[in-house]
């Protein structure tokens, strides 16, 4: 036998162990259920943010005000940006962290399951509160997702929608901080034996460093928001020059959060593509330690570049921030180099997850290059607050998130549901999305080059703005259409998908060593962990050319005996349902010894 069939080693649960009832979803503390809820909720907010973008593109398709006035338009771009950044991009990363971190490190759950559930509900309620601004008399917040002082003060934005926006971000920010604590505690404390730090999947590394940035950045935002709330509700003159305050303080605090934030958004998705490329290149990831060091450098440097968003204020140390901003391109370039290096010489195949990964690479590199351009103050003075910035931002953030989100969905869908998605629909979706995406945002770069400022509802006709705007709006339509084959693939898969098996892609990391969907508390057993690719080792250990060196020898020796698999976590239920509070059901996890030794 040359290849071990993992399906013979795991028994899939009779049904998906996710909650079955509505009340079950409300009360669950299972990391997989919470991960699914995060993914579904953030996808919902993506659709809301997309709908708002559609209204803006409809308005901007032709010159003149057709559909919405300037006041409504301000609300649209504010809530579009806020929903996409705070309610979609970051939480989708949290969804990935929730579902995959325990699976990838061989843990039964997150370290703090109830804190995890609390994070999710605070995030969801926060998101709904933000959107509820639309039903107040003055409408939703309308000062842009950056909420600059003094515009965001009571004089500039008197409506209750602004307060609801602040409250929403306080809730989602706190939720994000708690999630970060949970992720760090899980990765530091709950790794399986043999899962050393330098055997962690790169995705888990990235999520660890994302959590580290969240810990640093989100409390700063919360502090700034409390100051803003105090200045609005209690007349605290924090951002008011007349009262001795400083409006620029808001910008410093906001961007000290805001720039790590874009890496908080991006790093989980960098991790996603780093998981996907080796699998479909049939090669180990190129430069594992280089990638880890690059991620550490990015997350450290990300905290030193905030004021490059403030060059045009004329009140920051331009040289310092220009140099740090350009420095950050180096570790990012290392990552791109490593991704390409992984593919070079591989035997590549292109199912949908790999296609979306390549789409990510194209848009991310494009957006990254315009980012280096904008890091140069001389250029930034020209392009600041123009559509060039909007185009750059959407390429680097939207491209990263949307393409690798779909890569993640197509890649891990079989693990989550136990069903496959149909490849053909994925290809259709990918090409529609690629064309629509690039048409939309290349149009915005052209507009910026021609001098169109951002955040305006109307523009003069025949000034060179008509055609790029139309291109951009048509691109949006194509992008919207690309969601149809996706929805169709989801529906077909849920109704009658081909059964996936434990490891449909021949993956590398531990989540593929358990059944699809994983049982309650994830693993019935774990393979020995001897490299950063335990499942690859497991699959190929009996191949005559592989596994005959080093530590694998010990493993082969053990394999000859019946003690090949050490059962992990034979869960026993203690006192389920016996608690008067209704909150008492727990399971105590036991890590097993050699077979049969650990019967409760």
């Amino acid at each position: 036998m040359s290849e071990v069939d993992i399906d013979t080693l795991v028994s899939p649960p009779a049904r998906n162990p996710l909650p079955r009832t509505f009340l079950g979803w409300l009360t669950t503390t299972d990391h997989k259920a919470i991960g699914v809820m995060y993914a579904v909720a953030s996808f919902g907010f993506l659709l809301v943010g997309g709908a708002l973008a559609g209204m803006m593109r409809a308005e901007l398709a032709r010159p003149g005000e057709q559909f919405v006035g300037a006041a409504t338009y301000n609300q649209l771009f504010t809530i579009h940006g806020s929903a996409m950044v705070y309610l979609f991009a970051v939480p989708f990363g949290v969804a990935i962290a929730n579902y995959l971190v325990p699976l990838q490190i061989g843990a039964p759950d997150m370290a703090f399951p109830r804190l995890n559930a609390l994070s999710f509900w605070m995030y969801l309620f926060g998101g709904l509160i933000m959107l509820s601004g639309f039903i107040t008399t003055d409408g939703a917040a309308d000062f842009g997702w950056t909420a600059y002082a003094p515009l965001a003060g009571r004089a500039g934005s008197p409506g209750a929608g602004a307060d609801l926006w602040i409250i929403a971000l306080l809730l989602t920010g706190t939720a994000g901080t708690m999630s970060a604590v949970n992720t760090i505690a899980t990765i530091v404390m709950l790794r399986a034996p043999g899962m050393t730090m330098f055997r962690l999947p790169i995705l888990t590394w990235n999520l660890l460093l994302t959590a580290f940035m969240v810990l640093l950045a989100f409390p700063v935002l919360s502090a700034a928001l409390l100051m803003l709330l105090a200045s609005r509700q209690l007349d605290a003159p924090i951002f008011d020059v007349a009262g001795g305050g400083a409006p620029i303080l808001w910008q410093h605090l906001f961007w000290f959060f805001g720039h790590p934030e874009v890496y908080i958004v991006a790093l989980p998705f960098f991790g996603v593509v780093t998981e996907i490329i080796p699998v479909f290149s049939r090669r180990p990831v190129f430069g594992y330690k280089g990638l880890v060091i690059a991620t550490i450098s990015i997350s450290s440097l990300s905290t030193s570049v905030w004021a490059h968003h403030m060059f045009v204020t004329g009140d920051v140390v331009v040289e310092f921030f220009a140099i740090t901003s350009m420095l950050i391109a180096i570790p990012t370039g290392v990552k791109v180099f490593n991704w390409i290096g992984t593919m070079v010489g591989g035997s590549l195949i292109f199912p949908p997850p790999m296609l979306f990964t390549l789409g990510f690479l194209v848009t991310f590199v494009f957006g990254g290059i315009t980012g280096v351009m904008l890091a140069s103050p001389a250029l930034d003075f020209q392009a600041s607050d123009s559509y060039f910035v909007v185009g750059h931002f959407h390429y680097v953030m939207g491209g990263t998130v949307v393409f690798s989100m779909f890569a993640a969905v197509w890649f891990w869908w079989p693990k989550v549901t136990g069903r496959m998605l149909e490849d053909r629909l994925g290809r259709i979706q990918f090409w529609l999305l690629l064309v629509g995406y690039n048409a939309t945002f290349i149009g915005m770069h052209l507009l910026g080059n021609r001098g169109l400022p951002r955040r305006i509802a109307d523009y003069p006709a025949n000034a060179g703005f008509d055609d790029p705007n139309l291109l951009s709006s048509l691109g949006f339509v194509v992008m919207a259409i690309s969601f149809v084959p996706f929805a169709w693939a989801i529906v077909r898969s849920l109704r009658s998908g081909a059964s996936a098996g434990a490891d449909p892609w021949h993956g590398n990391s531990l989540e593929w060593a358990t059944s699809s969907p994983p049982p309650v508390h994830n693993f019935d057993w774990l393979p020995p962990i001897r490299s950063e690719r335990p499942v690859f080792d497991l699959r190929w250990i009996e191949h005559p050319d592989i596994g005959s060196v080093g530590e694998a020898d010990a493993w082969l020796g053990r394999q000859a005996h019946d003690e090949r698999w050490f059962p992990l976590h034979p869960w026993r239920e203690d006192g389920a349902g016996a608690e008067p509070t209704g909150s008492g059901a727990t399971k105590v996890g036991h890590r097993g010894g050699p077979a049969g030794e650990d019967e409760p």
Partner: protein, 125 residues
Amino acid sequence: MRVEATIWTATAVFFAALAALYVAVGGEAAGTSLLGIGFAFGGIIAVWLWRRVRTEPVPPEDRAAADMSDDAGSVGTFVVESWRPIGIAAGAAVALVGLVVGPWLAIIGALFAMFHLTGLVRDVR
């Protein structure tokens, strides 16, 4: 554990150096204090981890040749379901909305959140 401790130590050192550099090039007060806080955060976690490295034996997850059976025994207690998280979140959301709507709503929300927070603490075994 040693790797994690090193990472957090490096974090603290990085922020200390960056804060010093920022001051040297004429940075303003907000950024300087935030970078200083970065130093403190990293330092706190680093100190905790180094104490663990010193006092605890090398855990199985840090040993390259560890077997699953090396860590046999209880991994931990994991609550399966609880009404407390959604209760606290709902209370906190209502309390914050109360800051806009009126103090009466804030008080109701805060009491609701406190009730469930107490419950959460008491549920722990």
